[in-house]
Symmetry: C2
Subunit: 148 residues, 2 copies
DNA sequence: AATACAATGATATTCACTTTCAAGCCATCA
DNA sequence: TGATGGCTTGAAAGTGAATATCATTGTATT
Protein backbone atom coordinates (compact mmCIF):
# COMPACT_ATOMS: atom_id res chain seq x y z
CA UNK A 1 0.00 0.00 0.00
CA UNK A 2 1.32 3.36 -1.13
CA UNK A 3 1.74 5.82 1.72
CA UNK A 4 0.10 8.70 -0.10
CA UNK A 5 -2.96 6.60 -0.80
CA UNK A 6 -3.16 5.67 2.83
CA UNK A 7 -3.19 9.34 3.74
CA UNK A 8 -5.97 10.05 1.29
CA UNK A 9 -8.03 7.28 2.81
CA UNK A 10 -7.56 8.72 6.25
CA UNK A 11 -8.54 12.12 4.93
CA UNK A 12 -11.69 10.61 3.51
CA UNK A 13 -12.56 8.87 6.77
CA UNK A 14 -12.07 12.09 8.68
CA UNK A 15 -14.38 13.83 6.22
CA UNK A 16 -17.03 11.17 6.64
CA UNK A 17 -17.12 11.26 10.43
CA UNK A 18 -17.09 15.06 10.47
CA UNK A 19 -20.16 15.08 8.26
CA UNK A 20 -21.92 12.25 10.06
CA UNK A 21 -21.61 10.00 7.02
CA UNK A 22 -20.76 6.35 7.06
CA UNK A 23 -17.83 4.28 5.91
CA UNK A 24 -19.20 1.53 3.74
CA UNK A 25 -17.63 -1.34 1.88
CA UNK A 26 -18.67 0.13 -1.45
CA UNK A 27 -17.09 3.50 -0.76
CA UNK A 28 -13.90 1.80 0.24
CA UNK A 29 -13.80 -0.32 -2.90
CA UNK A 30 -14.57 2.62 -5.15
CA UNK A 31 -11.92 4.76 -3.50
CA UNK A 32 -9.36 1.99 -3.93
CA UNK A 33 -10.18 1.65 -7.61
CA UNK A 34 -10.12 5.41 -8.09
CA UNK A 35 -6.74 5.86 -6.42
CA UNK A 36 -5.40 2.87 -8.32
CA UNK A 37 -5.75 4.69 -11.64
CA UNK A 38 -3.05 7.23 -12.32
CA UNK A 39 -5.15 9.25 -14.72
CA UNK A 40 -8.59 10.75 -15.07
CA UNK A 41 -11.51 8.37 -15.20
CA UNK A 42 -15.27 8.54 -15.49
CA UNK A 43 -18.24 6.89 -13.83
CA UNK A 44 -18.82 4.08 -16.29
CA UNK A 45 -15.18 3.10 -16.42
CA UNK A 46 -15.02 2.71 -12.66
CA UNK A 47 -18.42 1.07 -12.62
CA UNK A 48 -17.43 -1.59 -15.17
CA UNK A 49 -14.09 -2.14 -13.46
CA UNK A 50 -15.76 -2.74 -10.11
CA UNK A 51 -18.59 -4.63 -11.68
CA UNK A 52 -16.11 -7.19 -12.93
CA UNK A 53 -14.68 -7.75 -9.48
CA UNK A 54 -17.63 -7.15 -7.20
CA UNK A 55 -20.98 -7.72 -8.78
CA UNK A 56 -22.83 -5.85 -6.06
CA UNK A 57 -21.89 -2.26 -6.81
CA UNK A 58 -24.42 -0.11 -8.64
CA UNK A 59 -24.02 2.72 -11.07
CA UNK A 60 -25.67 5.22 -8.76
CA UNK A 61 -23.32 4.32 -5.95
CA UNK A 62 -20.25 4.99 -8.06
CA UNK A 63 -21.77 8.26 -9.14
CA UNK A 64 -22.46 9.33 -5.58
CA UNK A 65 -19.08 8.19 -4.34
CA UNK A 66 -17.23 10.26 -6.91
CA UNK A 67 -19.21 13.36 -6.02
CA UNK A 68 -18.46 12.64 -2.41
CA UNK A 69 -14.76 12.37 -3.17
CA UNK A 70 -14.96 15.74 -4.87
CA UNK A 71 -16.76 17.24 -1.87
CA UNK A 72 -14.10 15.79 0.39
CA UNK A 73 -11.44 17.46 -1.73
CA UNK A 74 -9.78 14.26 -2.85
CA UNK A 75 -11.15 14.28 -6.38
CA UNK A 76 -11.61 16.95 -9.01
CA UNK A 77 -14.13 17.11 -11.82
CA UNK A 78 -12.82 17.48 -15.33
CA UNK A 79 -14.96 18.17 -18.34
CA UNK A 80 -13.53 17.78 -21.81
CA UNK A 81 -16.70 18.41 -23.75
CA UNK A 82 -17.26 14.84 -24.88
CA UNK A 83 -20.39 14.47 -22.77
CA UNK A 84 -18.67 12.61 -19.97
CA UNK A 85 -17.78 13.92 -16.54
CA UNK A 86 -14.29 12.80 -15.66
CA UNK A 87 -12.67 12.71 -12.26
CA UNK A 88 -9.02 12.83 -11.33
CA UNK A 89 -7.22 12.61 -8.02
CA UNK A 90 -6.90 16.10 -6.60
CA UNK A 91 -3.82 17.40 -4.89
CA UNK A 92 -1.55 15.86 -7.47
CA UNK A 93 0.26 17.92 -10.06
CA UNK A 94 -1.78 20.06 -12.38
CA UNK A 95 -2.73 18.33 -15.59
CA UNK A 96 -3.22 19.76 -19.02
CA UNK A 97 -5.11 17.98 -21.74
CA UNK A 98 -4.43 17.41 -25.40
CA UNK A 99 -7.60 16.39 -27.18
CA UNK A 100 -7.25 15.13 -30.74
CA UNK A 101 -9.98 16.52 -32.98
CA UNK A 102 -9.53 13.58 -35.32
CA UNK A 103 -9.49 10.41 -33.23
CA UNK A 104 -10.69 11.86 -29.94
CA UNK A 105 -7.70 10.61 -27.97
CA UNK A 106 -7.01 12.47 -24.75
CA UNK A 107 -3.37 12.84 -23.77
CA UNK A 108 -2.55 14.22 -20.35
CA UNK A 109 0.64 16.03 -19.53
CA UNK A 110 2.10 18.34 -16.95
CA UNK A 111 3.01 21.92 -17.56
CA UNK A 112 3.06 24.99 -15.42
CA UNK A 113 4.33 27.91 -17.47
CA UNK A 114 0.96 29.07 -18.71
CA UNK A 115 -0.80 28.61 -15.43
CA UNK A 116 1.09 31.29 -13.54
CA UNK A 117 0.28 34.05 -16.01
CA UNK A 118 -3.41 33.31 -16.02
CA UNK A 119 -3.78 33.04 -12.27
CA UNK A 120 -2.16 36.43 -11.89
CA UNK A 121 -4.46 38.00 -14.45
CA UNK A 122 -7.46 36.61 -12.67
CA UNK A 123 -6.33 38.02 -9.37
CA UNK A 124 -6.13 41.42 -10.98
CA UNK A 125 -9.81 41.06 -11.84
CA UNK A 126 -10.72 40.40 -8.21
CA UNK A 127 -11.17 36.72 -8.78
CA UNK A 128 -9.88 34.12 -6.32
CA UNK A 129 -8.64 31.21 -8.39
CA UNK A 130 -9.42 27.73 -7.10
CA UNK A 131 -8.62 25.67 -10.15
CA UNK A 132 -7.29 26.09 -13.63
CA UNK A 133 -7.88 23.95 -16.66
CA UNK A 134 -5.99 24.14 -19.88
CA UNK A 135 -7.18 22.24 -22.86
CA UNK A 136 -5.45 22.08 -26.21
CA UNK A 137 -7.21 20.72 -29.25
CA UNK A 138 -5.57 19.74 -32.47
CA UNK A 139 -4.24 16.73 -34.35
CA UNK A 140 -2.15 14.17 -32.51
CA UNK A 141 1.02 12.63 -33.90
CA UNK A 142 -0.61 9.36 -34.92
CA UNK A 143 -3.33 11.02 -36.92
CA UNK A 144 -0.83 13.28 -38.68
CA UNK A 145 1.11 10.22 -39.84
CA UNK A 146 -2.01 8.45 -40.96
CA UNK A 147 -2.99 11.42 -43.07
CA UNK A 148 0.45 11.62 -44.68
CA UNK B 1 -23.51 46.86 -41.14
CA UNK B 2 -20.09 46.12 -39.74
CA UNK B 3 -17.58 45.26 -42.45
CA UNK B 4 -16.18 42.25 -40.59
CA UNK B 5 -19.64 40.79 -40.23
CA UNK B 6 -20.23 41.26 -43.91
CA UNK B 7 -17.09 39.29 -44.63
CA UNK B 8 -18.19 36.47 -42.37
CA UNK B 9 -21.49 36.29 -44.18
CA UNK B 10 -19.76 36.05 -47.51
CA UNK B 11 -17.53 33.33 -46.11
CA UNK B 12 -20.62 31.44 -45.03
CA UNK B 13 -22.27 31.79 -48.42
CA UNK B 14 -19.15 30.54 -50.11
CA UNK B 15 -19.12 27.56 -47.77
CA UNK B 16 -22.75 26.79 -48.52
CA UNK B 17 -22.40 26.84 -52.30
CA UNK B 18 -19.20 24.80 -52.14
CA UNK B 19 -21.01 22.11 -50.20
CA UNK B 20 -24.16 22.22 -52.29
CA UNK B 21 -26.16 23.60 -49.36
CA UNK B 22 -28.76 26.29 -49.48
CA UNK B 23 -29.02 29.82 -48.22
CA UNK B 24 -32.25 30.08 -46.30
CA UNK B 25 -33.99 32.86 -44.44
CA UNK B 26 -33.56 31.04 -41.11
CA UNK B 27 -29.82 30.59 -41.53
CA UNK B 28 -29.45 34.24 -42.35
CA UNK B 29 -31.45 35.34 -39.31
CA UNK B 30 -29.57 33.00 -36.99
CA UNK B 31 -26.21 34.15 -38.32
CA UNK B 32 -27.21 37.78 -37.82
CA UNK B 33 -28.23 37.12 -34.24
CA UNK B 34 -25.09 35.12 -33.57
CA UNK B 35 -22.77 37.77 -34.94
CA UNK B 36 -24.70 40.44 -33.10
CA UNK B 37 -23.64 39.03 -29.73
CA UNK B 38 -20.12 39.94 -28.74
CA UNK B 39 -19.73 36.98 -26.41
CA UNK B 40 -20.35 33.25 -26.27
CA UNK B 41 -23.94 32.07 -26.45
CA UNK B 42 -25.83 28.81 -26.43
CA UNK B 43 -28.66 27.27 -28.41
CA UNK B 44 -31.54 28.22 -26.15
CA UNK B 45 -30.41 31.79 -25.77
CA UNK B 46 -30.36 32.29 -29.51
CA UNK B 47 -33.54 30.32 -29.90
CA UNK B 48 -35.45 32.49 -27.43
CA UNK B 49 -33.98 35.64 -28.87
CA UNK B 50 -35.11 34.72 -32.37
CA UNK B 51 -38.36 33.29 -31.14
CA UNK B 52 -39.26 36.71 -29.81
CA UNK B 53 -38.69 38.36 -33.15
CA UNK B 54 -39.57 35.64 -35.62
CA UNK B 55 -41.98 33.07 -34.33
CA UNK B 56 -41.18 30.66 -37.12
CA UNK B 57 -37.72 29.45 -36.14
CA UNK B 58 -37.43 26.10 -34.42
CA UNK B 59 -35.02 24.80 -31.82
CA UNK B 60 -33.61 22.14 -34.15
CA UNK B 61 -32.90 24.73 -36.80
CA UNK B 62 -30.87 26.86 -34.42
CA UNK B 63 -29.02 23.76 -33.29
CA UNK B 64 -28.21 22.73 -36.85
CA UNK B 65 -27.24 26.24 -37.89
CA UNK B 66 -24.72 26.58 -35.07
CA UNK B 67 -23.12 23.26 -35.96
CA UNK B 68 -23.02 24.42 -39.53
CA UNK B 69 -21.32 27.65 -38.50
CA UNK B 70 -18.74 25.59 -36.68
CA UNK B 71 -18.22 23.39 -39.73
CA UNK B 72 -17.80 26.50 -41.84
CA UNK B 73 -15.16 27.73 -39.46
CA UNK B 74 -17.04 30.84 -38.38
CA UNK B 75 -18.06 29.52 -34.94
CA UNK B 76 -16.26 27.59 -32.26
CA UNK B 77 -17.71 25.28 -29.62
CA UNK B 78 -16.96 26.07 -26.01
CA UNK B 79 -17.75 23.77 -23.12
CA UNK B 80 -17.62 25.07 -19.58
CA UNK B 81 -18.87 21.97 -17.83
CA UNK B 82 -22.28 23.36 -16.92
CA UNK B 83 -24.06 21.01 -19.28
CA UNK B 84 -24.52 23.58 -22.01
CA UNK B 85 -22.71 23.75 -25.32
CA UNK B 86 -21.72 27.30 -26.02
CA UNK B 87 -20.66 28.87 -29.27
CA UNK B 88 -18.54 31.90 -29.92
CA UNK B 89 -17.48 33.68 -33.07
CA UNK B 90 -14.26 32.09 -34.29
CA UNK B 91 -11.37 34.08 -35.68
CA UNK B 92 -11.76 36.76 -33.05
CA UNK B 93 -9.37 37.19 -30.19
CA UNK B 94 -8.76 34.29 -27.87
CA UNK B 95 -11.04 34.21 -24.86
CA UNK B 96 -10.39 32.96 -21.41
CA UNK B 97 -13.13 32.13 -18.96
CA UNK B 98 -13.57 32.82 -15.28
CA UNK B 99 -16.27 30.59 -13.85
CA UNK B 100 -17.48 31.36 -10.33
CA UNK B 101 -17.95 28.18 -8.30
CA UNK B 102 -20.41 30.00 -6.09
CA UNK B 103 -22.87 31.84 -8.30
CA UNK B 104 -21.99 30.22 -11.62
CA UNK B 105 -21.30 33.51 -13.37
CA UNK B 106 -19.07 33.27 -16.40
CA UNK B 107 -16.78 36.21 -17.02
CA UNK B 108 -14.91 36.35 -20.28
CA UNK B 109 -11.70 38.22 -20.81
CA UNK B 110 -9.07 38.56 -23.45
CA UNK B 111 -5.45 37.75 -23.11
CA UNK B 112 -2.73 37.15 -25.61
CA UNK B 113 0.33 36.19 -23.61
CA UNK B 114 -0.55 32.56 -24.12
CA UNK B 115 -0.27 32.50 -27.89
CA UNK B 116 3.51 32.37 -27.75
CA UNK B 117 3.52 29.17 -25.77
CA UNK B 118 1.34 27.30 -28.23
CA UNK B 119 3.91 26.71 -30.94
CA UNK B 120 6.46 25.60 -28.41
CA UNK B 121 4.09 23.10 -26.83
CA UNK B 122 3.09 21.78 -30.22
CA UNK B 123 6.66 21.09 -31.28
CA UNK B 124 7.58 19.33 -28.12
CA UNK B 125 4.64 16.97 -28.16
CA UNK B 126 4.26 16.22 -31.85
CA UNK B 127 0.82 17.73 -31.62
CA UNK B 128 -0.56 20.28 -34.05
CA UNK B 129 -2.51 22.74 -31.95
CA UNK B 130 -5.75 24.04 -33.43
CA UNK B 131 -7.25 25.68 -30.40
CA UNK B 132 -6.48 26.43 -26.80
CA UNK B 133 -8.95 26.85 -24.00
CA UNK B 134 -8.17 28.18 -20.59
CA UNK B 135 -10.72 28.01 -17.85
CA UNK B 136 -10.27 29.38 -14.37
CA UNK B 137 -12.61 28.46 -11.56
CA UNK B 138 -12.87 30.21 -8.26
CA UNK B 139 -14.84 32.86 -6.42
CA UNK B 140 -15.76 36.07 -8.17
CA UNK B 141 -15.50 39.50 -6.57
CA UNK B 142 -19.21 39.80 -5.82
CA UNK B 143 -19.41 36.50 -4.01
CA UNK B 144 -16.34 37.29 -1.97
CA UNK B 145 -17.98 40.48 -0.74
CA UNK B 146 -21.21 38.73 0.02
CA UNK B 147 -19.36 36.21 2.14
CA UNK B 148 -17.54 38.92 4.00
C1' DA C 1 -29.67 -5.93 20.83
C1' DA C 2 -32.23 -2.10 19.56
C1' DT C 3 -32.64 2.22 17.42
C1' DA C 4 -32.06 5.98 14.19
C1' DC C 5 -30.67 7.26 10.14
C1' DA C 6 -27.50 7.06 6.25
C1' DA C 7 -26.44 4.11 2.05
C1' DT C 8 -27.52 1.13 -1.56
C1' DG C 9 -29.15 -0.14 -6.15
C1' DA C 10 -32.75 -0.95 -9.40
C1' DT C 11 -35.60 1.97 -11.54
C1' DA C 12 -37.57 6.20 -13.10
C1' DT C 13 -36.86 10.88 -14.31
C1' DT C 14 -34.62 14.92 -16.11
C1' DC C 15 -32.26 17.67 -19.31
C1' DA C 16 -29.79 18.87 -23.22
C1' DC C 17 -28.65 17.24 -27.38
C1' DT C 18 -29.66 14.81 -31.60
C1' DT C 19 -32.41 12.39 -35.03
C1' DT C 20 -36.67 11.47 -37.66
C1' DC C 21 -39.98 12.44 -41.16
C1' DA C 22 -43.58 14.62 -43.65
C1' DA C 23 -44.25 19.07 -45.57
C1' DG C 24 -42.10 23.17 -47.47
C1' DC C 25 -38.52 25.94 -49.71
C1' DC C 26 -34.45 27.00 -52.72
C1' DA C 27 -31.61 26.65 -56.81
C1' DT C 28 -31.32 24.95 -61.31
C1' DC C 29 -32.74 23.77 -65.89
C1' DA C 30 -35.68 23.67 -69.85
C1' DT D 1 -41.72 31.30 -65.91
C1' DG D 2 -42.66 26.63 -64.29
C1' DA D 3 -41.39 22.25 -63.06
C1' DT D 4 -38.15 19.19 -60.81
C1' DG D 5 -34.87 17.32 -57.30
C1' DG D 6 -33.10 17.56 -53.21
C1' DC D 7 -31.90 20.31 -49.26
C1' DT D 8 -34.28 22.48 -45.15
C1' DT D 9 -37.50 23.06 -41.71
C1' DG D 10 -39.83 22.23 -37.25
C1' DA D 11 -42.61 19.45 -34.28
C1' DA D 12 -42.08 15.47 -32.15
C1' DA D 13 -39.71 11.48 -30.76
C1' DG D 14 -35.29 9.34 -29.39
C1' DT D 15 -30.77 9.13 -27.06
C1' DG D 16 -27.49 9.07 -23.32
C1' DA D 17 -25.46 10.67 -19.28
C1' DA D 18 -26.54 12.60 -15.08
C1' DT D 19 -29.56 12.80 -11.19
C1' DA D 20 -33.57 11.66 -8.17
C1' DT D 21 -36.72 8.23 -6.04
C1' DC D 22 -37.81 4.84 -2.72
C1' DA D 23 -38.06 0.53 -0.43
C1' DT D 24 -34.61 -2.26 1.46
C1' DT D 25 -30.22 -2.94 3.65
C1' DG D 26 -26.27 -1.63 6.43
C1' DT D 27 -23.75 1.16 9.89
C1' DA D 28 -22.69 3.28 14.20
C1' DT D 29 -24.25 4.49 18.51
C1' DT D 30 -26.75 3.78 22.81
Amino acid sequence: MNQTKQKVKEQFHLFLSKKGLKATLQRSLILDAFLGLDRSTHIDELYLLLRGRHSNIGHATVYRALRLFAAAGIAREVNLGDGLTRYEVAGGKRRDYLVCNDCGTVTEFENSTIARHQAELARNLGFTVQSLKIELRGICGNCQERQG
